[in-house]
């Protein structure tokens, strides 16, 4: 590997960590109702929304009402996305005259975008009108992300407040996340991306004359190429920032119109982890102890760096090809070398493997290279990161509430080892909290393994596998891990736009999102009623390197115990066969 590759990896991490403090502090002000500048500009809009909605700004909700509001709001979003897809042929902004999406695909896509998964069984440019993309999917990109942030803020309030019953107001947290955090960041990212060549246009697809005509596989001559257009940049900005990941085009950020240059690539990669990482600092500010936020961020970053190194190293090795001639596969100043199948020349190995790590560490799921074509070990990295429960930065909001759950498990484990009463941030962890935490950890594991088992044991599940041997099993395991953790990336060879996979993965996404949100809010509701006990000699400090190590250990051990048998049947055996 060239030294520039290492520099790019370091530059990425450096830029990300530099942004954590300012953005994190800004978000803490947004959620704590302190002035932050932008509120002066947009406050009338915010107030107008509350007035029309009949929302009493200061009226707070207990956990059950908060959860009810989350579920009603998400159900509404789901229904609207479903409906838009089913009637898009009669609606405006459909220059390609695309027909209605089939019922099972629309069901899958509606759940996928409402649940912040953004698994794409369809291909955007050939199945969705501009209106469906904008007013359906684009809106969910904002609102599903804002939902995750609101749930996180409720959990943080559960930890920071004491002896009360309320967690805040969902409508307020949702609106403020959207207006003051997601929208301004999205505007900046959109313009950066357009300046690099990402399309943003309502013109119909443009056709271009080929320099050298070619022939189609059925023998007909081809002289024209279609240049697909659309309001892409605005949607790509939020799909990255909101850890959504659903591309405007089918091949996502590998498409030159979705990610044209190395600079657009850097901006899009930063946007993936920006908010999830910064929320750690927000958490530290809001619980009144910044070291707690830094400790969680440190645990996430250490896991991230280890997996990033493994991914880059694995992809720099080109798998053997029987091509009948010697191939040049080493990295030199004139080529990236390595496993270039499914990767773009402008990104090479380092930027492709880094993206694959970031997108699955967060619950983003966008891709700039095709994970299905990765080396077995290289493809195992994204798979494992998803299976760890999307807590290494994770989805906006959802990543940190998952990681805080792991922190609760970690203090419980530590308590068992030394006989101390487990407490986190001064809150005693008792039976109910542990039940909820166990549910939050176990539901995605069960979902992934059950969905995989169902798919491999039925004809419908095996019928659309693209690759022979253990790689075919990896495709199914990857899809289940992606849906069961709300990631949305894919080993794209698997033909997932079938009624079987649309239903199976749709249900997996539903359970992984909402069956976690409800116990998370229940946990917050239980914690908020407790008093914060003062720290004493018997308290395990949760900001030390020791605790960071313990937290990493718990995350890795739970993941390893659950998934190593399945991984052994897929990527591990495949690597041994190379």
């Amino acid at each position: 590997m060239q030294w520039q590759s290492y520099t790019q990896l370091a530059l990425y991490l450096g830029l990300l960590l530099v942004c954590v403090k300012p953005l994190g502090a800004y978000m803490a002000r947004v959620y704590s109702d302190q002035p932050f500048g932008l509120d002066r500009l947009l406050a009338p809009v915010e107030r107008g929304i509350y007035r029309l909605a009949g929302v009493e700004r200061k009226a707070e909700m207990g956990w059950k009402t908060y959860a009810g509001a989350v579920l009603v709001f998400n159900l509404l979003g789901l229904l609207v996305v479903y409906l838009l897809q089913r009637i898009q042929q009669w609606l405006p902004l459909n220059p390609a005259q695309l027909p209605a999406v089939t019922a099972d695909s629309a069901f899958n896509t509606a759940i996928s975008f409402a649940s912040n998964t953004n698994w794409q069984g369809y291909s955007g440019e050939t199945s969705l009108s501009y209106l469906t993309q904008m007013a359906g999917l684009g809106v969910q990109n904002f609102l599903s992300a804002a939902t995750g942030m609101a749930v996180l803020v409720a959990l943080i309030r559960g930890l920071s407040r004491q002896s009360v019953r309320t967690l805040g107001n969902f409508w307020v947290d949702l609106t403020r996340s959207t207006l003051y955090i997601l929208l301004p960041l999205a505007c900046v990212v959109t313009l950066l991306l357009v300046s690099q060549g990402v399309v943003q246009s309502f013109d119909p697809y443009q056709s271009a004359t080929l320099l050298q005509p070619t022939t189609s596989s059925d023998g007909t001559p081809v002289t024209q190429q279609v240049l697909p257009l659309g309001p892409a940049a605005s949607q790509i900005a939020i799909k990255q920032l909101g850890t959504n990941g659903g591309g405007f085009f089918g091949v996502n950020s590998a498409h030159p119109f979705e990610n044209p240059t190395p600079l657009s690539n850097l901006v899009e990669m930063l946007a993936i982890l920006l908010i999830p990482a910064a929320l750690c600092y927000t958490f530290g500010v809001m619980v009144g102890d910044r070291r707690q936020g830094w400790a969680v961020l440190a645990a996430m970053t250490l896991i991230f760096v280890a997996f990033m190194a493994l991914s880059v190293a694995a992809e720099q090795q080109a798998p053997p090809l029987e091509s009948g001639a010697p191939l040049a596969t080493a990295a030199t100043p004139l080529q990236a070398g390595g496993n270039m199948e499914g990767k773009e020349t402008r990104f090479g190995i380092a930027n492709s493997a880094l993206w694959a790590t970031a997108t699955t560490a967060a619950s983003n799921g966008s891709v700039n290279s095709m994970h299905d074509a990765y080396t077995p070990l290289g493809g195992m990295v994204p798979m494992v990161l998803m299976q760890l429960g999307e807590v290494v930065y994770g989805g906006v909001g959802s990543g940190l509430y998952g990681m805080l759950t792991f922190a609760i498990i970690a203090v419980f484990v530590a308590g068992l080892m030394v006989g101390r009463t487990p407490e986190y941030l001064g809150k005693k962890i008792e039976t109910f909290e542990m039940k909820m935490a166990a549910l939050i950890i176990l539901i995605p594991c069960v979902t992934v393994l059950l969905a995989t088992a169902l798919a491999v044991s039925t004809d419908a599940g095996r019928a659309t596998v693209a690759n022979p041997g253990p790689h075919g099993f990896s495709e199914i395991l990857y899809a289940a891990s992606s849906a069961g953790n709300n990631n949305g990336s894919a080993f794209a060879g698997l033909g997932a736009n079938t009624p079987f996979y649309n239903m199976l993965l749709g249900l997996a996404m539903l359970s992984a999102r909402y069956w976690l949100i409800v116990p998370t809010l229940a946990l917050a509701g239980a914690l908020v009623r407790k008093q914060r006990v003062p720290t004493g000699a018997g308290t395990l400090p949760t900001h030390t390197p020791l605790f960071v190590g313990l937290l990493i250990g718990v995350v890795l051990i739970v993941g390893a115990l659950t998934f190593i048998p399945a991984l052994a049947l897929g990527p591990i055996v495949e690597q041994l066969m190379l």
Binding site: F73, G138, L174, V194, Q212, P256, T329, G338
Partner: protein
């Protein structure tokens, strides 16, 4: 809080945020983008004599020995079909991957039997989008002799053209060095069309 006020809240907040994020936001961004970056926002189109002849960002298929060839493309039903971008999605052990590479190697060797240099890996692998506009400088240099012979140009001249069309890392550090195949081939055509004295 009653169920009724919950549903009213959901309906109104959803409708208003849909207007803001689903209508106003993309419309405003399109307006600003079209004003500030009209060329980029509309697909970086290459226009020659009023006719659109491609995009600087989207690759085109080339098989003529007199042109530089790009990455393999897995799009259907023809390579570089930008209406249906796609990667090959072949696993590392899939024999189809070796078969595709072997076919490309055979084509390269039959067009240039004397060239025994190792073939750069990006020439025998399919890109993720199937529309990759670039090849590595190594892959371009590998093809110089063949293109020069097919066009009756000196290899030195063609090599210079490749070097002129080699983009370094962006801002000196980002991404990988690369050559835009369509732009290079158009420059070749322009060079060949020019009178010999001006070459």
């Amino acid at each position: 809080m009653s169920m009724r006020s919950l549903i009213r809240g959901a309906l109104v907040v959803f409708t208003l945020l849909t207007l803001i994020t689903g209508v106003l936001y993309p419309l405003a961004m399109t307006g600003v983008a079209q004003a500030l970056f009209p060329q980029q926002a509309n697909g970086s189109q290459l226009v020659v004599d009023g006719q659109v002849v491609g995009s600087t960002l989207i690759g085109q298929p080339f098989a003529d020995p007199a042109y530089f060839w790009g990455r393999l493309s897995a799009t259907a039903p023809f390579a570089y079909n930008s209406a249906a971008a796609s990667g090959s999605n072949l696993g590392a052990l899939n024999p189809a991957r070796s078969a595709a590479a072997a076919a490309r190697v055979a084509a390269l060797q039959s067009a240039d039997p004397a060239n025994s240099a190792p073939i750069p890996i990006d020439l025998v692998t399919a890109s993720g989008s199937g529309l990759d506009p670039h090849i590595s400088p190594a892959a371009a240099l590998y093809q110089v002799e063949r293109v020069a012979r097919a066009r009756g140009l000196s290899p030195e001249l063609v090599r210079q053209l490749v070097e002129q069309h080699t983009e370094g890392r962006q801002l000196g550090i980002l991404g990988e060095p690369r050559v835009n195949v369509l732009l290079l081939n158009r420059a070749l055509d322009a060079l060949t069309a020019a009178p010999a004295a001006e070459r």
